[in-house]
Homo-oligomer: 213 residues x 2
């Protein structure tokens, strides 16, 4: 498994492969060819083989891929096995929803705390956890070796809070705030800009409408 430098385009496709492989697994399918998978997923077989080969090739010529093995390998690449400690910063609508909705534990993320600057929320029970005030943040992050922060706070405070969290030792952000974080290069940021996504939808609707004229 040589990890030279895989493009984010490839990485972005891995979770989808994993999803389909999981379904095959659940249906007790033992083997699958790139051809079959390509028809199922609506991508080219060539791309599938290229993608897998970035990591060394998981198949057997003349046979195909063993579903279980392939699934496990991709899961490993994605780091699903590794354990990380995660907090949610911002216990508003979205923060609460993610706390309840995402199954962090099942994905190897230990969800250990949720914080909000609005002290009216302090102590509110969410899932099996109590909202903490921001004044607890520094100690909590340091003591619990938190490496991931989910940012569900307004953009006005996101940049500053992210900088603070980096200072406390956080290594990665799942950023829902609608702003670009200002963090060092060795910090990982995955942005989820929902309003950007909605605008793309808007564009594509408009385009389709124009096409049908």
């Amino acid at each position: 498994m040589d990890d030279k430098n895989i493009s984010q385009a490839v990485i972005g496709r891995l979770p989808r492969y994993l999803r389909y492989l999981g379904e095959l697994k659940d249906s007790n399918v033992e083997r699958v060819s790139s051809q079959e998978l390509s028809e199922l997923m609506n991508v080219t077989a060539s791309q599938i083989r290229q993608d897998f080969n970035n990591f060394g090739g998981f198949g057997q010529q003349g046979y195909g891929y063993k579903v279980n093995f392939l699934y496990d390998e991709i899961a490993k690449i994605l780091g699903i096995n590794k354990t990380h400690h995660l907090i949610i910063v911002g216990a508003g609508n979205l923060g609460q929803a993610l706390a309840n909705y995402m199954n962090f534990e099942r994905r190897g993320f230990h969800f250990t705390g949720i914080f909000d600057s609005n002290e009216a929320l302090t102590g509110k029970k969410i899932r099996d956890m109590y909202v903490q005030p921001m004044s607890n943040l520094e100690n909590f992050v340091k003591e619990n070796a938190i490496d991931i922060a989910v940012l569900t706070i307004p953009k006005t405070s996101a940049v500053k809070v992210a900088e603070q969290l980096v200072g406390y030792g956080v290594k990665a952000f799942w950023n829902f705030a609608h702003v670009d974080l200002n963090v060092p290069d060795d910090i990982v940021v995955e942005n989820v800009h929902l309003s950007d996504s909605l605008m793309k939808l808007s564009y594509n609707i408009t385009r389709k409408e124009q096409e049908n004229e």
Copy 2:
């Protein structure tokens, strides 16, 4: 504004341009060059000029771009001015959060209804709206000319519900269900697969960790 065939790569960058231009606007900046914008946004000036030129070019040589004008043009391209009618299907954690959190109205989306198959939720007040049972769906969509459905239901029901909604006249989906919808080509789908995003984060953390060894 000739609309030959703009790549989704370009479209995907437009919302970010819009965001930065909005900030410049708010700071009463009147003009901006591709060079300045490139430094601000951390992209190449060349890419900015190329992107804008897909739509005909909005600047003046030797001067740059007028911030207000450019902002409005990009907003127009993204179809922010158009009005659409939108419902949320699935009033669970995520559905409720989006109802409260997204400012649909400000983006030209008329949010007109929210539905859930769990009848215990029927009548629950969310924002200024009451959760409706799925049995209302068909009539509501047809009578209110709903063109967008936000899907925040489990993947087990998403595919079927989407097919039904297409039958009722829905033209676009903002899909949060972790599954690929099966809809005709003329239907627009924008997927937000949060767990995929989380896996990408996971991968990149693992990668950074390995680099630092």
